[in-house]
Symmetry: C2
Subunit: 368 residues, 2 copies
């Protein structure tokens, strides 16, 4: 087989060799002490990633599935929520909430800027029926980092809940579930956690657990209380058959992150983001979100001039062995994205920027 493409995508990301090997160990049965030990280690390893002392629930689904599960576990049809819709994944929260019969107030709908605590406070103030705000920490559509700390503070003051999609951020950027007072957060295995897609993770705080008690939405497979009951046993387990090899992978990936040190992992992501953004500017391109204080460390969403067709550019980059991602949603026709998360190093970013430059040159030549 030929050399695999370098995945500079906002997930799924490259899986390190050691993690791949962990995922190829002989099958172990999920009702054995050996598996409980790995499951327990994975859960413990995820706590600093979420910044929490609460149990981390493995939910056998995608990040999006876990967001849907969050809605099923916390709400009843007719409940009202505010959703920060300044990107594709904010929109996803809103769409999921609507499917389940929630009343959705779309706030902060400008994709070119981050969602702020003011946006949220205003929505809470003008509508006392709103029980919660749903927001993405990082939206890969525009590379924005929303101010979760500020939004959670407002939610606490107003007595509402805050649910965070942290799928493309957790493990690559600092997150403080307990300290910030977040009520529910979601992430998944295939982004900063450097593993295969196949497993999502959810943490709930005390107020969210209270909400589950009155939530009337039917659920069984992804009933959080049921999962918690199993993972908090002396010998942790899952209610159903878990994706054993993904658990083995994530446990190994967390060991890698511990060896590097979580603070250093975050610094490396910051460095890559700085490198990517400076490089993009040097190429004369601009960013989808010019909001300098609200950059995610995990993805750079690039805006292209009308003369450069994104697909042709990405194809030219791909011919150089590097896979970038298409623009998302409103940014699809005029942009593309460079992911720099998980098992990616500054040298990979540098190589990618070189390929973007060559691709731009090639396009301008063939366009002549």
């Amino acid at each position: 087989m030929s050399e695999p493409l370098l995945l500079m995508t906002p997930g799924p990301t490259r899986v390190p060799e050691r993690v791949l090997r962990a995922g190829a160990r002989p099958m172990i049965h999920h009702r054995t002490p050996e598996f409980s030990q790995v499951l327990g280690a994975m859960i413990e390893g995820l706590k600093p990633v979420f910044g929490t002392r609460e149990p981390v629930l493995p939910v056998h689904t995608t990040g999006r599935g876990a967001m849907e599960a969050a809605i099923c576990n916390l709400f009843s049809p007719g409940d009202a929520v505010a959703v920060c819709c300044n990107g594709k994944f904010g929109e996803m929260w809103a769409e999921l909430a609507q499917v389940y019969g929630l009343v959705v107030y779309r706030i902060s709908t400008d994709w070119n800027r981050s969602a702020t605590s003011n946006d949220v406070d205003e929505a809470f103030g003008s509508n006392p029926r709103i029980k919660a705000v749903l927001v993405a920490y990082c939206d890969t559509a525009n590379g924005v980092r929303n101010d979760i700390e500020g939004i959670a503070r407002v939610a606490r003051q107003r007595g509402r809940l805050v649910l965070v999609d942290g799928v493309s951020a957790l493990g690559g950027m600092p997150f403080s579930f307990d300290e910030w007072g977040v009520d529910l957060a979601v992430t998944a295995s295939q982004k900063c956690l450097m593993s295969s897609p196949g497993l999502a993770f959810v943490v709930l705080g005390e107020r969210a657990w209270s909400a589950t008690k009155t939530a009337r939405m039917p659920r069984s497979y992804w009933d959080f209380a049921e999962i918690r009951k199993h993972v908090t046993k002396a010998r942790p387990e899952t209610p159903g058959t878990p994706p054993v090899h993904i658990v083995l992978q994530v446990a190994e990936a967390l060991a890698l992150m511990q060896e590097e040190g979580l603070e250093q992992v975050y610094r490396r992501h910051e460095d890559m983001a700085d490198l990517a953004r400076r490089g993009v500017a040097e190429l004369g391109l601009s960013l989808q979100c010019p909001d300098l204080d609200a950059f995610s460390s995990t993805v750079t969403a690039v805006a292209l001039p009308a003369a450069i067709p994104p697909k042709a550019l990405r194809d030219a980059i791909k011919r150089r062995g590097i896979l970038t991602a298409a623009g998302l949603g409103i940014f699809e026709p005029g942009g593309f994205r460079i992911g720099h998360m998980g098992d990616i190093r500054p040298s990979d970013v540098t190589r990618t920027l070189g390929a973007v430059k060559q691709a731009l040159d090639e396009l301008s030549v063939t366009a002549r």
Copy 2:
């Protein structure tokens, strides 16, 4: 690491070396032609396993999750269904249906015998509100094979639907979705399909697709119509991020099954079941279900005399390097199970029977 346990369990089962290696290939992005090709090959390879020409939908969940998804996709709250409850997984259908507000008629509740077309015909006849019958093909609790062909015939005559949990049978026993006139069937990756747990598969017939159009249960993540739309594209894909490495595994496992020949795979399972049942009888033990015409080829559920504690017996077998399964439900206190499905050979069954004999001898010694 020490030699892994021989998994004589009704799933998860041993994953062959070639399949493990396929699951350790470098990550490939799910929106590439390379991944589409593997996904397409997997779907084509699953069609003969289901006995269908319909598209096979990969649903990123467990078998149980796919059963729950089936209920969400086909029914509305208040709909009535009959459920063949002659085992643990029949009971699971019933419990899931109740969570979603269906009216459940439990039929065929004797765990010591198979569910018959007569049981189902009677229920349909006495209650015209019943829209469907939910049944397991094989219930691993008792090793029973229910008469899906006969039950489907009755359902056709009465104009009702039949939904089949084929999780512990498909790929190890013949199944003819199209010919028998089944409306929906479910299976999963970690049993006869010799792969890691992590992916379920669902097939719907025309009548089931019609039912999805009027079903009012909310669903998004596991909306079957959405999944079909994606997998039936010229370049098959999934709506969300699929568990890439599990897809790679299942595609490889199906290649192994094709090399052996599906008919030969079924014969091997029959041979193993014959061997297991004869061996159990020779040890003076009996079966949970004595119904000779209704044995599953994939699992043998053994009944133990009161003098033999199942856990002590299974521990003694485990000390000999073999993992068997505990009895399920009402059979937990007085039985245990030997799975013989997937990558298991007659020699593994023989080795297991030898270990059971030694374990029985050891217990009778220590009990003295």
